[in-house]
Symmetry: C2
Subunit: 776 residues, 2 copies
């Protein structure tokens, strides 16, 4: 790992997370730990049918059960709350008159304890009128297929890219390769399942809603809209403890709406905690892709055309599926310089649970296809896959570079990443039989995805920095620490700017009443966007210190700096401890300059949403990564062992080495699971029942399944970002599947094009290859 710039005292160091001890000792409280006086417990009745109309719900027996306080049916919701969400028709209402997947919410019960609520569910009598269902997206697209929604066709939308001239591109090509790639419906499987606690106070008309959320200000918007309340009457708080999110805790869910509504009706707090089975059954997962990709190259390996047609299974409702549709198209002409690109991305409804945001947000699917096809091309053309990549990526000399689809790349460490990964894996060296190496690389969008004109033209973070009389500092952020160590990173940024030790900073976060609005934690944006806002806030607070110190030291503020706990003259001739300056600022009458030291920072991504042709610059900065895997395949069993694994990431400026490595390692592990183990959520093709309702069936990687990783960090500082950092939450999960697929091909000469790459698929492919050789 290269050293960070010398000018920083705290940024770029290895800093233990500030919440480590409270987390490890169990002191941090999660939603499940919270108890309020008079609290009730909510449970959902879920549909046993994949598609049906709810004809009637008989609540009479359940209502009579002692301890049952309220039963909500669709009649309480539809027309009585306002639909939420950005992309109608979608999961508009918390309960459904027409259910569209097995597990869809039909009714909700609030009772004095969970057992009573469960008992009440069993007493609810629902009459369903079954309707034809469809589970396969290709089937759903066919004429005459059962339709999920009245308001929209099964083909919810087609997102397009039309840049350059695709026909001309393929005409120029000397080589054209084409393949179909398929990916799974990967579940997030956070340690903490979904839940919330909602408490409405009738006398003030104020709703307080605790939810382990990535985006409290978005949940506030949704709750306010659903319940027809002003935003300042809805307080959303993310507890200190959030047990993982990975995109699954962005959108406002049925339990949020029902808990809030029940609390408002009853004047008592209501809590929902989903079971692990409900989590698999009825929360979001990664969009499965079927992607037909076609690449055109000239003789020397220059990519001149890229065409793809993708079917993206969005499940029963759109959730934020539309977005993945938009941004995933940008991945290929972002990773490589390709002048002519054509893409059609079909967003298709099926009678399954919703697909939604998941770390990588379409890019793992896109990258698996692209990087596999690239190796297919290299193999067929007799080119070295590394050479082919290096030929087509953006190089430092190209910067600033605008890709054919409009991404403006101002920093790019891809070349160094590829070379470092290849070198470390021993690219080109001889290996023993059944052992191979594979590469993959990607661009990643760090910051906001300005995909929707109504809501997301501008994506902001904000922060407040307050310096107390003793020079200790409290920083406030509306963003959530979902386990990635964001609050440590934000504390470092403030400490660095103020020139104080890290332990003098505390972070207060994620309460919509008391912390400043922030779009939240998604899209690898937090350290970048909220971090930039934090730097600005700290800088504004510092200005006050410098102004006060300039009077005390009789020096121009411009000649002062904050460094190592002091306000110092830049020539080091004089200095004052920060606490002395802070005290003076608060308590000395300095002609109006005195008073509390509060710095305020707002940072807004200056982005351009994609147009109908997929052209736009939708995030403020782009990160890059290359992974290299060495695998050993047992041809007798199809078992793959990753013998070595190298990651090289251009993250821009590193704030906390620990956090960045943690993100890379964690995401890479998840990417290896995605590539090799996780079949994802699978369903009975006849009745749509989930076949993987628990961790027994859903095969997650454990530590034993993961290789040691060698990690390189390349700091290609982005000139447009205050600290030059570019976001690191997602790239790690994007590369592994293709790197492993390419390594397996290198090892045993079979190409697996659908995820996960299991021993069964390898054995089948080896058999086919064997049969084909024999047939010749």
């Amino acid at each position: 790992m290269q050293n960070v710039a010398e000018e920083f005292d705290i940024i770029g160091k290895r800093v233990p997370r500030i919440e480590s001890v409270p987390k490890v000792t169990g002191a941090i409280r999660y939603i499940a730990d919270m108890v309020l006086p008079g609290m009730l417990h909510g449970k959902f009745l879920r549909s046993p049918c994949a598609h049906a109309r709810v004809v009637s719900i008989d609540t009479s027996k359940a209502e009579k059960l002692p301890g049952v306080k309220l039963i909500l049916t669709p009649d309480d919701i539809i027309g009585k709350t306002r639909p939420v969400g950005i992309f109608p028709p979608q999961n508009l209402y918390a309960l459904h008159q027409e259910v569209r997947y097995v597990g869809d919410e039909v009714a909700a019960v609030a009772a004095v304890d969970e057992e009573t609520a469960e008992e009440a569910l069993a007493l609810l009598k629902v009459e369903y009128e079954e309707l034809p269902a469809v589970f396969d997206p290709e089937e759903a697209m066919r004429p005459g297929a059962p339709q999920l929604h009245e308001e929209a066709k099964n083909i919810r939308d087609i997102k397009r890219v039309r840049v350059g001239n695709i026909e001309e591109g393929f005409r120029q090509a000397n080589h054209i390769f084409k393949a179909r790639f398929q990916t799974s419906k990967q579940a997030h499987v956070c340690l903490e399942t979904h839940g919330c606690l909602s408490s409405y106070e009738p006398t003030t008309g104020k709703l307080t809603h605790w939810v382990p959320s990535q985006m409290i200000f978005f949940n506030r918007l949704d709750l306010a809209r659903a319940l027809n309340m002003p935003l300042n009457k809805v307080r959303v708080i993310a507890p200190d403890g959030i047990g993982g999110a990975f995109g699954s805790k962005c959108t406002t869910a049925s339990h949020d709406i029902c808990a809030a509504l029940m609390s408002r009706r009853l004047g008592r707090p209501v809590k929902f905690i989903l079971s692990r089975e409900e989590e698999f059954l009825a929360t979001i997962s990664r969009h499965p892709f079927i992607r037909d990709a076609e690449i055109g190259l000239t003789k020397d390996g220059t990519i001149v055309a890229w065409r793809e047609r993708t079917i993206q299974d969005i499940g029963a409702y759109a959730d934020i599926g539309q977005w993945t549709g938009v941004v995933t198209l940008a991945s290929t002409p972002g990773t490589y310089k390709i002048p002519n690109v054509w893409a059609d991305n079909y967003l298709v409804y099926t009678d399954k649970s919703n697909s939604g945001a998941y770390r990588g947000f379409g890019n793992p699917q896109a990258t698996f296809a692209r990087e596999s096809l690239l190796d297919i091309a290299a193999g067929q053309m007799g080119m070295d896959p590394l050479e082919l990549r290096l030929k087509n990526i953006i190089k430092p000399a190209d910067l600033p570079y605008t890709t054919s689809n409009g991404l403006i790349v101002r920093s790019c460490g891809m070349e160094e990443c590829l070379k470092k990964a290849a070198e470390a894996i021993g690219w080109g060296s001889k290996r023993k039989a059944n052992t191979g190496v594979g590469l993959s690389c990607t661009i990643n969008w760090g910051g906001d995805k300005g995909g929707d004109k109504n809501l997301f033209d501008a994506c902001f973070g904000s922060a407040l920095v307050e310096i107390a009389v003793d020079g200790s500092v409290t920083v406030r952020t509306g963003n959530s620490d979902i386990g990635q160590g964001l609050y440590t990173t934000l504390a470092q940024i403030a400490a660095e700017e103020l020139g104080i030790p890290l332990d003098r900073v505390t972070v207060v976060g994620a309460d919509s009443d008391t912390t400043p609005p922030d779009m939240g934690c998604y899209a690898s944006r937090s350290a970048l966007v909220t971090g930039s806002a934090m730097k600005r806030a700290a800088s504004e607070a510092k200005e006050t210190l410098l102004k006060v110190a300039s009077k005390m030291l009789e020096v121009d503020p411009e000649d002062l700096m904050a460094k190592r706990g002091k306000i110092q003259v830049k020539d080091l001739s004089k200095s004052l401890p920060i606490e002395e300056v802070a005290r003076a600022a608060y308590f000395t009458n300095m002609g109006g300059d005195a008073g509390p030291i509060i710095g305020r920072g707002v940072w807004t991504s200056q982005t351009v949403p994609q147009n109908a042709d997929g052209y736009g610059n939708f995030v403020p900065a782009y990160a890059f990564a290359a992974h290299a895997a060495e695998v050993e395949v047992d041809p007798a069993t199809g078992t793959v062992r990753i013998t070595r694994y190298v990651t090289a990431h251009d993250t821009g400026r590193v704030i906390n080495v620990h956090a960045v490595e943690g993100q890379i390692h964690g995401a890479t592990g998840q990417g290896i699971g995605y590539g090799m183990l996780e079949e994802g959520l699978t369903y009975d093709s006849q009745d749509g029942h989930l076949r993987t309702p628990s961790i027994m069936e859903y095969k997650l990687p454990t530590a034993a399944d993961l290789p040691d990783m060698q990690t390189f960090i390349v700091e290609a500082i982005d000139p447009d970002i205050p600290l030059g950092n570019k976001g690191v939450g997602e790239p790690g999960i994007i590369c592994p599947a293709a790197a492993i697929a390419n390594a397996i091909y290198d090892a045993v000469g079979v190409r697996i094009k659908d995820l996960p790459i299991t021993p069964v698929k390898i054995m089948r492919a080896l058999q086919e290859k064997h049969d084909a050789v024999k047939a010749k």
Copy 2:
């Protein structure tokens, strides 16, 4: 009541308090309502001796009592915590090795419930070595008197005024009058007794301390100092429910320190709630004064000299007694233009509970003496008391006027107040026998008392105003609403500035982690100082709206205004609803202007602390008031009935008419209790035991004891304050005693010079007068 200026939509109206319904319905939570998991209950062992050394404490039996978790003795405190407070030696430590009044804290017990804690107290064996005690301040001043402190004499301090030339002043005087006045040790008797709940989290090292406080940021300072913690590791929160304060909930008390310390030692929350008896025994009360006052006047009634010598009984420790010593001296040359003033104010320790801050802060005592002596002078000189006052007050033509002791008066409605009060009471009209009228008037300091150079040169408020996407507004203040309706006033100020209806504003308050630093609620300062900061914060938020709207409407920001829910061109040609502008600010990429709308306001009083001669301008603005009482005295019983009562207050700009009237009525009622009913805390002169340990003995006025009041508000707008308001929390309590004393004299010709004016004192005086007449 005169109408407020027409330019305001919300300011100056009668606005019901935003917390009325939650308070009246019991929804608001007080400290007593709060329960945390694992919470323990704390109790004090209090000294039965007025002055003693604690020789030993045997805790062995108490420790063995099941449910007892911790016993603190002075050994745990002294040398192991840091002393708190501004004026040493004072209530430095939470427990005492040398006790100095009956009720002083000796030990503290934390147990699983209050009963167990009480039981444990009974098992503590303390050996005391009794020391001589002194209860009378004049006795305490004598040579050879028992001394309370090693570090300081009983005469803790002498505060002086030396302005003009007092000898020359008295030489010029044609008439000189002199009298001694005495006042009582009035208790605050808040509905809610003192208490706190402290919770220390060992893994984060963070202390959270809930306390019904007027000054959370000061409590934070004290707790951090006592426990040797950085300020950002101490979170002090005032609950929404505070059951009255009147100055009694400013300073950090023994229970605060002990609760915090116990929680840190045990890792469990600890709660203290004082009983009503403890409240009378061991919390602060008003300083009793013995004031010898002397006035010199020329023939025409011009006051040319004022001399006073005051003994101020500060109790066992100084608390903020030093401050009352400083500010009370400013009262007389502030109310009247007096060129030559001499004062000596002795702050004297006695073996009684501490005197401290109480609404009026020395001014009720000072004003009783001054206004009584003025009527004595008028009577002796054959002048009309109203004329005498009018002759000597500051008049509009004098403005700006600097008093002889340095107060800079920029607005003064005293003349109008006096005339309105006199006219309404029917001054000069004939009355039936035993009926009389009396007047009194005063200056009041609104804002901060810049009395201490180390801490209080500058006194600040701050505020944050956040506008949400839907145009609803959340304002944050570190100040407390102690029952006076401050939060409604602050919401009005923000709503007015932003041009939106009041119900679109919510107030979040008094949490040192999440609300901006504010010196808190004392000295009639909140609407003035915090209100000014709030106006600035709202104005800054408005600037963002105007900037964004100027782009939307293509109009200069200077041509726009926020009014009636809209951003309007000033010529009313175009407008946009505020919610549309807010949405655009958040969600439209406007070249860097977009993002959260957060306005930040700081307001610092530009004051000059008094120097050693008592010269200085220690608050930003001065309010004025005149009261007139009509009384009927029954000469057979001495019973006084107030038949009419008129208050006229120059408050500067009125924000909420309801709140201002509420302050005036409430304070006047308290002032009438002070004048006529409350003997205050009284003690056995032998052993120092409290004779008034409950409301049975302590005689509070009830609604039946109070007259209807006629209230005039004079809005002499202060040019130096953003809204021109001057503070109204205190003046009401200052005037009643003298107005009533003067009315009684007018009715039956007897002058009572010590408070309260009881039937017994009147009967005795009538008897003396009768005897004197008979003797002639």
